[in-house]
């Protein structure tokens, strides 16, 4: 039984429910208290011990159902281990038993045998969906499939009148067995492998170039971005205050100790107030960069908990605020709208800075981080680096995220070298990982 539980915990871990050793021990104690008898009670109890959030609880419940789906007979096998052991050697050798078993229609006996075979085949090691067929084969083998195959061959070659009917019967049985084994292996993959496969694909997607993503990846990216946003929010919503050690706050100390005859028992130190992050994102939405903008905006807006103060502007020719569009529409629809409204003109960075200065300068103050996302290709127009310098000087910092690699900066119509001196930082952003790092750095600057 210990093994049942450890395998279950292993399945949970592979689906990103973090279960510590301590919790695994708690689970064992829970089972000792509750027992395996009442399935739904066990499910509630383990959920309450092992899951730490509502999402984890959902994953737990789903896996629990998958994992314990077979164990209708759990308590039976538990009660008589010696008897079960004696059984386990017998059925593998003789095909008659297997045939009898499958023909008997005794579902619980069949599934018990199937479980035993699955365990013997080491099913909990399954990791990828491509292994399903292999493990199904192994299960059949453990159940004595080879002998069955042999019998089938003999029946097919036989000349006796009953042979043909018997062969047909054996074929049906074999098909039934194969289906059951396959189903069992698939379920094992859902329990043990699906989580890790997901993880593997996520890692892969995070390192893929953003503009090389296809539609299939987009859905995955959304989940991934939500995860990143949560990670960043947890990291940066903590530690708002910082103690400035060694500097006495005289006023507050006196007040706090007024009741103690003015003797300063409680000393209060000055505290440094931290600025709340304020981010202004300025995005080039012309064709070449639009895909990157999508991810940056999605990430920034998923961060609403940690950074309530976010403003976004988009431009290709003229620059306009897009906060309202993003607030009123569902994200995908908003992006389409933004690109349709603003992404059609020929890119003109000079005009964008001028629009920003004339209409929206007041939005940028000394605690604002300006994030520019663009390739700085201005179609040989005047880049108006002077205006850009003014903006950069007003802001706390100016971060430029460039989808182009460093080698391309300044080639052709790229005006990057003109802007570079005024940027706090300019970095090459090609993958979701880069994006996460960049936003992380911005938020850390408020630490």
């Amino acid at each position: 039984m210990e093994r049942t539980l450890t395998n279950f915990i292993r399945a949970l871990r592979s689906s990103e429910v973090r279960v510590s050793t301590g919790e695994a021990l708690d689970a064992t104690r829970t089972v000792a208290l509750i027992g395996y008898g009442d399935r739904s009670l066990l499910r509630d109890s383990l959920g309450c011990v092992l899951a730490k959030s509502t999402e984890e609880k959902d994953i737990h419940d789903r896996l629990f159902d998958l994992y314990f789906a077979h164990s209708k007979s759990l308590t039976d096998t538990d009660s008589g281990p010696s008897e079960a052991e004696a059984d386990s050697d017998a059925p593998q050798s003789s095909p008659e038993d297997l045939v009898d078993l499958l023909q008997s229609g005794d579902e619980s006996a069949i599934s018990t045998a199937l479980e035993r075979a699955a365990e013997a085949a080491g099913i909990e090691d399954i990791r990828f969906s491509t292994q399903v067929a292999y493990y199904a084969q192994q299960i059949i083998k453990q159940m004595g499939g080879e002998a069955l195959q042999q019998r089938l061959l003999e029946a097919l070659q036989g000349r006796e009148p009953g042979d043909e009917a018997q062969a047909q019967e054996l074929i049906d049985i074999r098909r039934d067995l194969t289906m059951r084994a396959r189903e069992r292996a698939e379920r094992a993959f859902d329990v043990f492998g699906a989580g890790e496969t997901q993880q593997f694909r996520d890692d892969f997607a995070a390192e893929k170039r953003l503009n090389a993503l296809d539609r299939y990846d987009m859905e995955r990216m959304k989940g991934l971005i939500a995860k990143i946003a949560k990670r960043l929010a947890v990291k940066h919503s903590r530690r708002r205050r910082k103690r400035n050690r060694g500097q006495l706050d005289v006023r507050r100390t006196m007040r706090a100790n007024a009741g103690l005859d003015g003797v300063p028992f409680n000393v209060i130190w000055r505290q440094k107030k931290k600025d709340r992050p304020k981010i202004v994102a300025i995005c080039d939405v012309s064709g070449s960069v639009a895909q990157y903008v999508r991810f940056l905006l999605l990430l920034l807006y998923s961060l609403a908990d940690a950074v309530p103060d976010i403003h976004a502007f988009a431009f290709s020719h003229r620059l306009k605020p897009v906060d309202d569009i993003l607030a009123d529409n569902e994200f995908e629809a908003a992006m389409v709208k933004i690109i349709r409204e603003l992404g059609m003109g020929s890119t003109d960075y000079g005009q964008a800075w001028s629009d920003l200065k004339v209409d929206h300068e007041s939005i940028i103050d000394r605690r604002t981080t300006v994030i520019v996302l663009g390739d700085g290709r201005s179609n040989y127009g005047d880049p108006r680096a002077d205006l850009f310098r003014d903006v950069a000087q007003r802001a706390k910092s100016m971060i430029w995220l460039n989808p182009e690699g460093r080698a391309l900066w300044g080639t052709g119509d790229s005006a990057i070298p003109r802007y570079l001196p005024f940027c706090t930082q300019m970095s090459h952003v090609a993958t979701l990982k880069d994006l996460e790092r960049a936003v992380d750095e911005v938020l850390s600057a408020y630490g």
């Binding site: 510590s20 509630d44 109890s45 309450c48």
Partner: protein, 330 residues
């Protein structure tokens, strides 16, 4: 877990006894809730309850205390809460007073000393007196550890406290002990049952979550809500009860900013009772909607829906369902 000492937790023998015990004091439990209370005792772990406001998170702790007849120590968390408020504080005033009184005796005491080091040594022997339990003002956490028959410790809205405080709680929650530097470690003979509640204002730390059992209490289904309202407002008639509960359930399905919680249903039931309502009707509902909904925009939105919701609530379909699966109230 051998039990030589008698504790107040003895009624917690099974999940069913938890459910029926809580029902005795008017708390309608679900099996999930009862299971976690049972496990909290069995595994000696705190319960962390999450869920929307007003679904009975705090009430669970209080009902548990009432049922087991144990003291309830409540610690309301807020930003800036520190050890001094949660754990213990030295009674500075009293210490000062004693110092003043002792001042006159001081000469007699150290008069016999020949030199400075001798008098210092004599003084040092008194120091311990000043930092003894006599001068210790215990706050909820420490008090909970000191209860001889156990207690219910309710740490309310833990998400509102600072991370420093959360980290500080770890020692208390995992070992049921408290360290006072001047005195030493005070360990609970009978650990309290700890209930933490959170409204998810901020994400709690992993370390804290790991030490707790996790319980999510959501909005109740109609049957449970009826039982709860009946337990709280016994005078309400069966017909009105069915109608008002199914009305509230209907409101929760709509897209409102703040969905009405159980406490609001109970308030509403009381209001309707005061107004001698026997069955829901559109006008009554409209005039009392502000008890149920707390946002102007929600009230405006629901006002339009009132005819439909009332029709559904007073219709024969939903109201006829039985409340099986929950303990009947005696």
């Amino acid at each position: 877990m051998a039990k030589d000492i008698s504790t107040g937790y003895e009624p917690l023998v099974s999940i069913e006894s938890v459910t029926s015990g809580l029902a005795e004091v008017g708390y309608i439990s679900t099996r999930e809730i009862s299971t976690s209370v049972f496990l909290a005792h069995g595994l000696r772990k705190p319960i962390l309850i999450e869920g929307p406001a007003g679904v009975g998170k705090t009430d669970l702790a209080q009902s548990l205390g009432r049922w087991l007849d144990l003291p309830i120590l409540r610690l309301q968390c807020y930003e800036g809460l520190d050890e001094g408020k949660a754990l213990y504080e030295w009674k500075y005033g009293k210490q000062l007073l004693y110092t003043q009184i002792l001042k006159e005796k001081l000469n007699e005491l150290i008069g016999s000393a020949d030199n400075l080091s001798q008098s210092l040594g004599k003084l040092a022997s008194f120091e311990d007196l000043f930092f003894s339990e006599q001068f210790l003002e215990s706050r909820p956490l420490l008090t909970a550890m000191q209860q001889p028959a156990g207690s219910i410790l309710l740490i309310d809205e833990i998400d509102k406290s600072d991370e420093e405080f959360e980290a500080f709680l770890l020692e208390v929650l995992s070992d049921y002990q408290v360290t006072v530097p001047e005195i030493g470690t005070i360990r609970a003979n009978v650990p309290p049952i700890v209930i933490l509640t959170s409204n998810n204002v901020r994400e709690l730390g992993d370390a804290l979550k790991r030490r707790c059992l996790h319980l999510h209490i959501g909005f109740p289904d109609a049957a449970r809500e009826r039982l709860i309202v009946q337990a709280r407002v016994p005078d309400v008639s069966q017909i009105l009860l069915k109608q008002l509960v199914s009305f509230v359930q209907g409101v929760r399905e709509t897209d409102v900013k703040k969905r009405p919680s159980i406490s609001e249903t109970v308030d509403w039931a009381r209001t309707l009772l005061l107004m001698h309502t026997t069955a829901l009707d559109e006008n009554f509902v409209r005039t009392t909607l502000n008890v149920l909904l707390k946002h102007e925009s929600d009230i405006a939105a629901i006002s339009k829906e009132v005819p439909r919701l009332v029709r559904e609530a007073t219709g024969p379909d939903k109201a006829g369902r039985t409340s099986s699966g929950y303990p009947e109230l005696g």
